[in-house]
Every structure is written in structure tokens, then in C-alpha cells.
Symmetry: C2
Subunit: 554 residues, 2 copies
């Protein structure tokens, strides 16, 4: 190698070194931002996220080029770009006025701990790249198992760190958790038998033929999360075979309807291998009658899965824990730590009652996950994974169960307060009562509420259509004005003949949301509604015509 | 409510508030740690991670209780626990001497940017909780698409931000990426036709019956990643239907063998719906002949997927890009950003050539992912996801393509240097040449290498067994001594009659790994080997007996 080449090589090595070793000076742009975040996260978010949002097409203009840059950017320059174009137009999901989705402010200590986690960059798929993080994650899964199933200490001594067993899986979120649960259920239902090596080895086609079924099915409330449909698709069962069962006036699955469906499918030789109970529906926060579903699962020999992605954290509250009675009879339970356990995005879990259940999806490789190793990756759907479990571990210790109970109780009671305000307001109508901290409602002028009682079916349908449009308009306008955010969804309440009804949806999990804020949210919606009613003239016209007719008749 | 109750409620609210709003003081334990990480991450890791590792059972003692604490811990106290018991016993995956797995030091600017990402806590499943992060992620997918497929600018203008299309999916890692690719391939192969509504709706059993196949299959090299087997299981195809095809002396799939298998399966009426090419096998870094596989896929009408989780980043290097020739003909490509794009753990991607392909897995819900929305969640396997794409976006801009080229070239050339050292050493034997920056080798005394040429099959097998044990011992002892880490795996080289051969495996992706370090690693292995040969007496006994016999004969 010539002298010149050596010099060039050294320069390259030097510049590579810099990217990986030279830290940001405290006075640099990034150093300043770090300081701002550390000093007061809420102020940082308020300062840098623009209150009034731009239309998406405007934002897209800053993210147009598909070319990977041919020249490097300075860190400070690029940071300014990110602050002005990305952060400024992101969503302040932790704002106490952002009550439309399942996000919240986060405990402060998690910011620096996240930095440690990312700096350590462990890979939880195997012990060789995670060491102590592996027993830590196993302990976290044990703690959640204990929260749900309360087994004696000896149970955890035996199973928590057992090489060939797993009490569950930590994963990126509730969707992967639900898929994992149904994957395990499917593989156990179609397990090896005689010459047949099981669905994991031989696939669904041969499995269904071997067992002589005409097809498979999973039953769940019509309010079940859309991830279950996705699971049915991925797992090769088919979305149609995820059978939705009608709910009652409280958005809880009708057990009698489920039993009837179980009977029908049995007669059709269709194997129902899992029943899913929902503990905290995404749209209304309702909890299915878990004990009765457990009875059904037992009677019909199905896996009983409880999707408690949202509601599972309620088990932390001694006061409200009874709402989830029966969850302890589930074969598997999904809980999202990034929801009501207040962990940053990307922390889901599925927990299995029986430590041997996950054997049905066990897999190995030559270079890792060797048989008998304690590598977590042999029982997870995902491969490489970060050390997120550390954040939950720290929160469980620092907040502790009674701290979580305070948070949960506070949320539920705030939802009841807000429901009370809606009920007390003549022009708002509560659509679903809060069972947990979710509720839905809509704006309907008092006179229209009254008129609806006397409307013909045709009149009712016309009114519902316009009320749906009005609700949608209120939600969008409020979001765009940037002061607060509630979401919207569509339900099919029995009282309006199961017609699709657009409702405002509120999730009250942010401990910084005050009663004052809730009152302002309602006032703002009322103002928007009053100003825009003129654009929906049929509402008042039809209301008056119904009331006139009624007055004449009476 | 009594006065006392009000006071109590206020106190609760106050204490909840504190957890969510009071930042750590700069002089607190956590504040100090943040400062240490910011000032010099490598020093922080060296200081806090213990060099000599404890046995796992010892570590487990600190993670025993399945009880969720009934009393809160002080943040500072718990941080000390984490430092002493977790961080101290974690793995320094970014150490330049840790060359056994696909981890590396990370660019410095990613630490503060990660903090911004976590503080913003966006949820990329929908625009309402991610806003500008959605076009940013779509742009990142576009850039990677461009890297692989080089479509004209107009292509990206048309598709990158199109509501009902997606150029790919950002996900937690290569496993989810591979599952997504095969999910799409499966659903497109068994798409709706006439009265049949497609496998997504009706499931695999009805789909296979409708199309009249006897079963399905996917073909891949025997060196394919274990996640593909997992995918075959999850997707209901069955692990047996992921058919491994023999590799040649360079660990590349034998195209003729694959063609033969395609013919056999065709005659058996088994539908091969996907061929997978590997671009950078996990164990040896080998690249399949992608162009020839593309020809096969075209000829037999299969989806062509390239698993470039590891090797995909090589496309950044104009010099080594030709190694992946043919990748641009793939229908889908997996690339992990947390591997050779130097992003923290949890960043995978699958990219689809045709923007309409992912329609096969599209799904919607009432409250989000409404039809026509640009919500990313309608085309992902995962649901809620963090804003990791931001870190890749920043790295693509700050490092730029030529910067990545420097990193890639540097790694490959370092691997060649190390291979040269191994070849030059009489007592080491290179098992696989580095095509990318991975190589495998083992310690075999020079005399034994010579003797093996004259060994009977029985003698060879006995020697191989003991050499395997020795290799395993060297790898474990070196890891335990804590100075450096290489991994091990088992291969089936043709030259030893395809007998399972344990080898040392090295991945040279960390730009901080120097030639000096590599020389030390080899020296340490040599020392361990010499000291421990006495425990494997058969190696020298048999060697001498073979050589004696040979000497007599000659």
C-alpha cells in the first residue's frame, strides 16, 4: 500500500470515528434540546409543537424527495429542520387537552431511563446480547402473571426463569400480543396426533383434514379490536371466521348469542378453537362478562383469550379490579404497557396462564435459541427486540401498585364526572356510560332529543344522518382549531335501530387532564355546534315539524 | 363530599401531578447519568458494565420476586439498583471487541434524537396521533424503495403519499418484515376469484380447496433465517412447507436444485407461492444468486422475496452494490435499519416493488384507518408503533449515502483483512470466506489439519466431534473472560461430508473495531486453545496415530 493510500485510509477511519464517538457539545443545538426536555418536557412540547395544525398536503411538501442525500448534513442544521418541519407538525399526545386517543403524559423519570435503554441497545432475542435484561423481562412477565392469576410463590420460583417455558411474551404492542395468543391457541387445537405432526409443522390444510373439521372459527364481541381480524387473516383462518357476536345495550357481548353461535357452528362441524373476551373495548371501554365466557370456553373446549390491552391495568386497582372478574380464568391475556401502565410507545404483552402453552410455537436456530437455552426469542413472534421491559420494570417499582391504583381510580372517576356534565347539559346526549375511563356522546339540541321520540322511522333516519354529519364536523373543527382533541367513531346503538351513529369519543387516561379542561372541551363543542347548526337546516326543520304535529295531536 | 375528602383528593391529584411533571434535577442520580451518557457514551458503558460476567443463575437471584411492589421506590434508589444489578450485568453490544453478533456502536447524534422521539411519543398507526411523522415515514419508505428499485421521480410523486397505497412497512424488525412479505405473497397467490372471496376473507382451507392445490410451499436456501420458518408456521403454511434447498461451497443456494424442487412440487400439485433469496445469510453473510432466482420466480409465477435484513445496506455502497445484483427484480425486500444502517434496536422494513401489492392485506376500522385515509396502520402487521422512522430519516440525512458507503466498505475490507490473518495462521482454518463482513473459522492445530487429509471416515468423525467441543469451549471461555466476544454456530460444509461443524463466527460491522483488536482476539483464542487442548486428548492422539501410519506408508 502506498503512503498516500495509508493517509486516505486514516482519514476515512478518523471521520467514521467521529460520527460514533464525538458527543454533542452541551451548547450545540441538540445539547440545548436535551436540556429543554430534561428541564420541562411539557414546556418543550408546548413551545415546539405548533398549536394550529397545517393540512396534511401542506406538510407532505416537506417530505417529497425519494433521493437519499449524496452529501452529509450538519447535525445542527438537520436538527433545526426536524424542529421546524417535523416536531412543529407532530401531535402533542401528552397534552391534557388531547383526550381523543389512548395516549397520555408520561412519568418524568422515564425520559432519562429511556436514554439508558437506547444507549445500552440490548437485543432481547437472546442472552448473548441482553444478559441481565433477560431475567428482568422474565420477572416483569412473572409480575404481570401474578397480577392476573395470583399463583403461589412456588409457582413463580418454578416457572419464571425456567429454560423451556415462558409465562408470556413482551412485544411491540397489543396487535402482536393478540396474534401470538391466537397462534398459540390454533397450534394447541391442531396439535400433533399419531402420524400427524401438528399444524405448526404441516400447515392448516392438512391439519383441518386430519382432524376432520369443515373449518375453524374464533368468536368475539362485535366491538372486538380490529387486530383480531388481522390475526384471523395472518393465521390463515380468514377474516370471515372471526365471528362477531352481538352486544347488549352496554356494549357487552351477549352470552346467550355466543352460546347459540357455538351450537350452530358445532352442528356445522366448524371447530371454534378460541373465544375472545374484551376487557375494555377500544371504542367504549366496555368489559365483557368474563366469567360467563370462561364457562362457555370450558364447556365447549376452546382456548379463552382476554383482550385487556386497554383494561388490563385496571387489575392494579383494588377498588375496580372486580370489574375484570373472570380474567383470572383466561388461558391468555393481552395487556399493553404503553396504554394505562404509562410506558412509551411500543410495549405490549401477552401472558399465558399455563407455562407449557407456548411450547406450541417454540422454535430454535443453530446460532442462537439453542434447545435448553433461556433465550427469550424461542417463544416470541418478533425476533430482535429492544429492552423496553426495563421501563415497565422501573415504573412498577417507582410508581408501585398503590400508585397505579391512584392513576386508574382517578381516570375512572374523571370519566364519571364528565359523564355527569354531559348528562346535565340539555344539548348533549351520553351514548355510552363510562365503565372504565372511556365514554361516547354527541351533540343533539334538546328540542331534537325530544322530537326524536315522536319521529317516524323515515324522519329518524334523516335526523340521524344529519346528526352524524354534524358530529363529524364538530370533531374535525375542534381538532383543527388546535385547543383540544376528542376522537370520533361509529356505533350501532339498539335504541336507534342499530343504525350507524357517529359519536364523539373521549379517553380520560391523562392524569394532567383537569375537570376545568373537560368543561372547556364541552363549551368549545357547544360553540362550534351552535355556529354550524345552520349548515344542517334539516335538523331544526324536521324537529319543528315533528313537534308541531305532536302538539296538534296532543 | 366532605372537606376531608376534598383535601385527600387534592393530595392525590398533587402526587400524581408530580410523577408526570417534576423533572429530575441535574444533580440527581438520573441527571448525572444523563450527563455521563451525553459526555461520553463509550466511557459510560465501560464504567458501568462489569467486564467479567456473572453466571446467569447468579444474576437471576436479583430478579426473583413476582410481586408488584406495594410501596413506591425513590427514583434515585431504584436507579442505583438498575445501575448495579441491570446495567452492570448487561452486554456492551457497542464495544469494538464485541464482534460476535450484528450489533455495533451507534452514531452519537442518535442519543439526543431518540430522546426527542420518546418524548414526543407519537403513534404511527394513524395520522391523528402522528401527523408529520406519517409523511416522514412514507418518505423513508420511498427512499429505501429508491435505493433498491431506482424508479423515476414521477413514480415517487405518484405513490409515496398515495392514500390507498403503500411502498412498504416500517416494523419492529426483520422477522415481522419477512412475515409481512410472505403474508402479502400468500394473499396475492390465493386472491379472490369468482365467488371465492380470497384467503384473507375465507382462510387457507377454503382457499386451497378453491384453487385445487394439494398444498402450498415456499422455497429458500438451507441458510435462510429461522424467522422464515416462524412465518411459515404463523401463516398456516406449516414449517415443513418451507422447503430448504441445498447450498454450494460458498453457502449460496444451488439454483439447479431449486429448479428441480420447483418441478417436483409442480408435479405433486403443490403451489410454490414464493421463492426467497437471501442477501447476507445470518451465519455466513453469503448472497444467493438473485438474478437467477428472479428468473426462476418469473418462470414459475411465484412472488420473489429477498431477505436482505443484513445485506440490504450494502446497496448504499457503489463499490459493493453489484454483490446484490438482481435484488431490484424482487417483489419485496426486507432490510433492517437496526443492523447496518446503525439505528437503535427495533427498526425493520419491508419494501414492495409494486405499490398495489400490499392491498392484499389492507384493513380498516371504524375509529381509525378509515377508507381513503393515509393512516399507515391500514397496511402494517403491527398496530401502535413508535416514531423510529425519524431516527433513520435523520441518519440518512446526516450520514448521507457516501457516508454509509464508507461504513459498508470499511466493514467488508476489515473482514477481508481478518480472513487474511486467519489464513496466514498455521493453527486456524477459515471455514467461510467473507462475502460481506461476516466470516467463520475455527482452531485446528496445523498437524491435525494435515492429518485430516489421511483420516478414515471414522477417524475424521471422531476428530470433528472433538474439534467441535474444543471450538465451543474456546468461544465460551473467551466470552466469560470478558475481553472480547465472538459467537459460534454450526454449519455443514461439503468438504467434511456435510457433518455438523461448530465454527467461530465474527461480524465486523462496528467501525470502532480496529485491526489491532482483531489480532488480539485471535491471540486470545490461540492461548485458550493451547491451554485446553489437553482436555481433548483424542485430537493429538489421533493426529499422531494418523501421521505415524501415513509416514510408515509413504
Amino acid at each position: 500500500m502506498a503512503v498516500m493510500d495509508n493517509k486516505k485510509a486514516d482519514a476515512t477511519q478518523e471521520s467514521l470515528h467521529r460520527i460514533f464517538t464525538v458527543p454533542e457539545a452541551p451548547e450545540s443545538t441538540l445539547g440545548q434540546i436535551e436540556k429543554e426536555i430534561s428541564e420541562n418536557l411539557n414546556v418543550f412540547l408546548q413551545t415546539h409543537i405548533a398549536a394550529r395544525e397545517k393540512p396534511l398536503v401542506e406538510i407532505e411538501k416537506d417530505f417529497q424527495s425519494a433521493d437519499i442525500p449524496e452529501a452529509p448534513s450538519f447535525v445542527s442544521e438537520h436538527t433545526h429542520f426536524l424542529l421546524n418541519k417535523l416536531v412543529a407538525q407532530s401531535v402533542n399526545t401528552s397534552a391534557p387537552t388531547f383526550i381523543g386517543h389512548m395516549t397520555s403524559a408520561l412519568p418524568y423519570f422515564l425520559m432519562p431511563l429511556s436514554k439508558i435503554m437506547i444507549a445500552l441497545n440490548q437485543n432481547l432475542v437472546k442472552i448473548e446480547t441482553s444478559k441481565a435484561f433477560t431475567p428482568l423481562e422474565r420477572q416483569v412477565l412473572g409480575m404481570l402473571h401474578n397480577l392476573i392469576y395470583h399463583q403461589p410463590e412456588s409457582f413463580y420460583q418454578q416457572w419464571m426463569h425456567s429454560a423451556n417455558h415462558s409465562l408470556g411474551a413482551f412485544c411491540s404492542g397489543g396487535t402482536i400480543a393478540n396474534i401470538t395468543a391466537l397462534w398459540v391457541a390454533r397450534n394447541n387445537a391442531l396439535k400433533p396426533q399419531g402420524d400427524f405432526k401438528g399444524v405448526a409443522q404441516e400447515g392448516l390444510f392438512k391439519a383441518i383434514k386430519h382432524y376432520g373439521y369443515d373449518d375453524l372459527a374464533v368468536l368475539v364481541s362485535e366491538r372486538g379490536h380490529y387486530s383480531l381480524k388481522k390475526a384471523a387473516d395472518v393465521l390463515g383462518i380468514g377474516r370471515n371466521c372471526l365471528v362477531p357476536i352481538e352486544t347488549d345495550g352496554n356494549n357487552r357481548v351477549k352470552v346467550a348469542a355466543m352460546r347459540e353461535k357455538l351450537e350452530t357452528l358445532k352442528q356445522q362441524n366448524i371447530k371454534v378453537f378460541a373465544i375472545v373476551g374484551v376487557a375494555g373495548t377500544t371504542e367504549t371501554g366496555s368489559i365483557d362478562p368474563l366469567n360467563e365466557l370462561a364457562d362457555l370456553a370450558q364447556e365447549y373446549g376452546c382456548h379463552f383469550h382476554v383482550d385487556a390491552a386497554w383494561g388490563g391495568a385496571t387489575l392494579m386497582s383494588n377498588k375496580y379490579r372486580p370489574l375484570l372478574a373472570g380474567a383470572e380464568r383466561a388461558d391468555s391475556v393481552t395487556i399493553d404497557a404503553h396504554k394505562q401502565l404509562y410506558i412509551p410507545m411500543g410495549a405490549g404483552m401477552v401472558i399465558f396462564k399455563d407455562p407449557t402453552l407456548m411450547t406450541a410455537i417454540e422454535h430454535h436456530a443453530e446460532y442462537i435459541l439453542r434447545k435448553g437455552s433461556k433465550d427469550l426469542g424461542s417463544h416470541t413472534l418478533e425476533g430482535s427486540r429492544s429492552g423496553m421491559a426495563m421501563l415497565l420494570y422501573a415504573s412498577l417499582n417507582i410508581i408501585s401498585r398503590p400508585g397505579y391504583e391512584m392513576l386508574i381510580n382517578n381516570s375512572i372517576e374523571k370519566a364519571r364526572y364528565f359523564a355527569g356534565r354531559i348528562n346535565a347539559h340539555p344539548d348533549f346526549e351520553l351514548v355510552t356510560e363510562p365503565e372504565l375511563c372511556l365514554l361516547t356522546y354527541r351533540y343533539v339540541p334538546a328540542r331534537t332529543q325530544y322530537a326524536l321520540q315522536f319521529a317516524t322511522n323515515t324522519e329518524r333516519d334523516i335526523l340521524l344522518d344529519d346528526l352524524n354529519d354534524l358530529t363529524k364536523f364538530i370533531q374535525k373543527r375542534q381538532r383543527e382549531s388546535g385547543k383540544s382533541f376528542v376522537s370520533r367513531t361509529r356505533l350501532t346503538p339498539e335504541k336507534w335501530g342499530r343504525k350507524l351513529t357517529t359519536v364523539l369519543r373521549v379517553v380520560l387516561a391523562n392524569p394532567l387532564t383537569t375537570e376545568d379542561i373537560l368543561n372547556h372541551v364541552l363549551e368549545e363543542q357547544e360553540t362550534i355546534a351552535r355556529q354550524s347548526l345552520i349548515s344542517y337546516p334539516k335538523i331544526s326543520q324536521l324537529t319543528e315539524s315533528i313537534l308541531n304535529r305532536t302538539a296538534v295531536k296532543q
